[in-house]
Symmetry: C2
Subunit: 299 residues, 2 copies
Amino acid sequence: MELEAVDLKAEMQRIGARIEARLDALLAPAQGDRGRVVEAMRYSALGGGKRLRPFLVIETASLFDVPAEMAERAAAAVEMIHCYSLIHDDLPAMDDSDLRRGRPSAHKAFDEATAILAGDGLLTEAFTVLAHEATHTDPSVRCRLVAELAEAAGQAGMVGGQMMDILGEGHPMTLEQISQMESLKTGALIRVAARFGGVLASQNSDIVATLDQYGRDLGLAFQIADDLLDAEASAEDLGKPVGQDAALGKATFVSLLGAEEARRRAGDLAERAAGRMASFGPKAGALQALARYVVERKG
Amino acid sequence: MELEAVDLKAEMQRIGARIEARLDALLAPAQGDRGRVVEAMRYSALGGGKRLRPFLVIETASLFDVPAEMAERAAAAVEMIHCYSLIHDDLPAMDDSDLRRGRPSAHKAFDEATAILAGDGLLTEAFTVLAHEATHTDPSVRCRLVAELAEAAGQAGMVGGQMMDILGEGHPMTLEQISQMESLKTGALIRVAARFGGVLASQNSDIVATLDQYGRDLGLAFQIADDLLDAEASAEDLGKPVGQDAALGKATFVSLLGAEEARRRAGDLAERAAGRMASFGPKAGALQALARYVVERKG
């Protein structure tokens, strides 16, 4: 357990550096007035974040020996979608959040118009990356990556979940409603990141389903842990404002279950996620360690 | 000329109805809180617009006898991108426009958060549609459609052009700068719409280049004509506010060239676009008529 935790940290840093370099190369600066939106895209995509979703793509891809470039490109596309969603969620008309990853959020560092466009640009660029032949030699695999990412990101996934979250501010949600909202808002993208290794390697539907279930359990554990952190951690630890849920009168897993029960559920989900990876043997060690880490982290 | 104009109007109405039905089917209403964002996507995508870009996809596809369903799906994807860009451009932080197609713009009919999400949803849905096998039997063609649409929509296209347009409010642009801005902001998507017929039919690069050049000339003619309408037409004719460019102190083709020279250039571009279609014979009649129509229209 101690050894796993140390290895995981090193593995996350190693993969984080690869993703940083890949994003840096994919988002090349542009000249002229257009350069400003690319600068904002780079500001939001580079230099920070846990890179949880890229880590899932890279690690599930490594179960099946997918070449590094393909895995990194798919991982970068998923991270672009994540970063776009953070930019738009932080906007004054949405969650109105001025701080992100310990820095001013995009609309504060630039301006609202530039932030909206930077989000649009990252969302679009993700599909440019996936459709390119460098991402996979088989175009039917590339189409599947595009289709799965678009579904996870769109109105049936992340966009729909954010809509539910915003409307939930007006009428505090039940546990079932929160679970459904989170499964769309954050769960769908985490699941697709976990699936991508299997999709890149053209694995059968049973294997992709196992990866999907791992991602589902992990994503929910992650979200419950996030609620616990929002309720208990300091802004300095998190690099973003805390206590926001309570301030907005939002129901959360913690407010509905209590901290103790929420922590117990997150732990159970993490163990179940780790258990699902057992059949992949030692190669899945980092994915198992990750499941335990997401509920134990302090930021 | 008279006959062409009558035929074009009927053809545009016929294709507009097919696109309306296709978008209606692709954007099925959703239940629950998530339904609100889908409602806003439908509000913005259905019930209006000239459907210029879908018309280009359908008509260029018909040059090569592409099956109707494939052409309509590709056309609907392009129109989703166009509609998303209108929603986001109209936002208070961008052009702050309350009227669109004679109705309240999305953030007035709903609210800002819902409008941002509806734009995000339409942008994402376009790629869901293109990646689906119903759009083309050959996955390499579907990947190419995704790649070309993403490039036209992203920071190297529409997003970059909108950034240039916004920054241009601060320092009035030269003719060269306006041409470059418009070629990204509106030109890139019109060009890709014209190319799509050739891409769907796997035509050689010479033919796709001819379609591209037609789209480039048509797009620029369209934009110059738009500037003339903004300077001269009434809000009732256009279904959106007029005189906005002058009010914002923006340089336009009309302010830089004068109305007479702008009208002459638009006419020349339209004739050149029409001429490029001559080699395709009678099947290209509607595309030729369209080129002339965009500079003669009153709204």
